[in-house]
């Protein structure tokens, strides 16, 4: 049974990795601690629900396309309208409070619009499917989540390393003053990055919504996990985020087997053990 617990922990880690990767991207490029990230996840779950209600025949994984498109637009617009304006000061606390303010507004508007009752997406029986390879039941949806996470990490890494836009994003992250001299407007880069981050959170929100019920508070409840994933992996490192997610997922499920009342205690303790050993994260750069 322990093997099953660990395998399920790794699969849960895929979801946690998805929670963290958008956050890691924004932090890596703009140095903003984006408190809104949890609301991105919850809002995307509601967007997915809305689309699923409009077209009930659609396969749940196909929901990704409209969710990503809408989320990207929202992230882009939020950054362009608000966050860029708060980034003029060198003090990182102004954008932090701004994203905090936006998150409170978005969360409570969701409460007003959708109510606090748990919702779920009933799209075919996809969420209940499972395979049984070695006598260990493994859900198809968690497996798909991990596979999707791995695919997105590879794609993101490819875009950042090998493409023109990726080079521009990395250059902006390194020095936003110097890229201006090369004809790049940092705020436009930030818009795209925030859009991408929201799109990644959108996928995470969709996966969460397919897996379990959700409320407007589902995002903020998972904000700490998202942060832990990012810090554990090393701020701004995508592979680190993936690995951090898996470490936390395994720690949580093993901990819950040891003591069903411990909640996320073991995940938190493992987090502490790791950051004490490596204060800059698993893949972080030593300063």
């Amino acid at each position: 049974m322990w093997v099953g617990t660990i395998i399920n922990g790794v699969l849960l880690g895929g979801l946690y990795g998805l929670f963290g990767v958008g956050l890691a991207l924004v932090f890596g490029v703009t140095r903003i601690i984006n408190i809104m990230h949890g609301e991105f996840i919850a809002l995307s779950a509601f967007i997915a629900l809305g689309i699923a209600m409009l077209s009930p025949q659609m396969h749940p994984l196909l929901l990704i396309v409209p969710v990503v498109v809408i989320s990207f637009g929202l992230g882009y617009a939020l950054q362009a309208m608000f966050v860029n304006r708060a980034m003029r000061l060198p003090d990182p606390l102004a954008p932090l409070l701004l994203t905090f303010g936006l998150s409170v507004i978005v969360r409570n508007l969701m409460v007003e619009l959708f109510g606090v009752n748990p919702r779920s997406i009933h799209q075919s029986d996809f969420a209940q499917l499972s395979i049984n390879p070695f006598g260990i039941p493994i859900g198809v949806l968690p497996l798909a989540t991990l596979a999707l996470a791995a695919l997105l990490f590879v794609a993101l890494q490819f875009v950042l390393r090998r493409t023109e836009i990726g080079r521009i994003v990395r250059a902006t992250a390194d020095n936003s003053e110097v890229v201006r001299l090369m004809g790049v407007r940092p705020s436009s880069v930030y818009n795209i990055v925030m859009g991408l981050s929201f799109a990644l959170a959108g996928i995470a929100g969709l996966m969460l919504a397919l897996r379990t019920t959700f409320t407007p508070f589902s995002g903020v409840e998972r904000l700490l996990i998202s942060f832990e994933v990012v810090v554990l992996g090393g701020l701004g490192s995508f592979w680190g985020a993936m690995l951090g997610g898996i470490v936390l997922g395994v720690a949580q499920l093993v901990g819950l087997r040891l003591n069903p009342n411990s909640g996320f205690l073991y995940g938190n303790l493992v987090f502490f053990a790791f950051v004490m050993l490596r204060p800059n994260g698993l893949f972080g750069v030593r300063q």
Partner: protein, 345 residues
Amino acid sequence: MKRLSSPIVTLVAFAAGSAIAPWFVGDRGVSLLSEGLLMLAMAQLWNLLAGYTGLVSMGLQCFVGLGGYTTIFASNYFSISPYWALSLAPIVCGLIGGVSAVFLFRLRDAYFSISTWVFSEVIAVVVLMTPGLGYVTGMTLETARGIDFETFLLVNFWITAAIAGASVLGIYLLMHSRLGLSMTSVRDDEIAATSIGVNVWCNRFIAYVAAAAGCGLAGGVSFMGALFITVTTAFDLNWVVAMIFIVIIGGIGTLEGPIIGTVIYYGIRELFTGVFALSGTWYLIALGTVAVITMLIAPAGIWPLIRDRFAIEWLSVKRKVPYLYACEADATRKSPIPHEQSYFV
């Protein structure tokens, strides 16, 4: 001595005001004032960490909760007056803060912020699982049974006012001391501070332990007044969220900022839930809107905006460069720096 006059007037006015306030504002007013003054003290402590020493903590709710639990547990367990038990809260919180600082200070910036939050979550679960602390149902302050409630409220209010006054006065005096000067130097430039012989770690440690002890005391008073404590209310993230909101809205690194921030924070709440009689959701939306608007027009906070617009000083912790005084004394010599200019140190 011109610099001292306005803080002294403020202190005397505050002491006199809080001494007589209970007879003018009614029970509802007293509890609102208590809540606001405690929050002001906690916000000043968060400001001490973030605004003066550069430690952005997201885990001070840990000490609020521990202070509350220490007070209620000690009072029940030893059957002593809650006021005596209260004096244990800052000691316990200071100790735990000190021990945790040894580990947490290995981490920098965002790593530190997130880890303080995680630390608080760990402590919350540990308290939840510890026998004798009431598990999920929480604890009631049993020693309060025979107490005269009127007097209890009144004394609580005065303790609260004393804590708030002490936090402002303490930080004012600290910032005009040698220690305060070295703390701000750590915030502004760690490497430069080290190079002139400031012990960075030690400065931060003192500030962190002080903030932990202070938040513990505030938490103790808050839950003593509530007569009841649960893990969810005690270790609520909203404690630190309110501190951050109040400090950044008002103006970080200033003493006046948190005062203005507290007035705005509770003003919005009373306006929306009291005067307009709207649900808590709309109050939170209004709060978020205020945060967003303030960060868009005045990212440094409201007090710096007012101060610079009207050129006023109230509880300023600015220092003037000694050289400028020399210039003022010797009027015949031409100063290379304009006289009015003063510097943040």
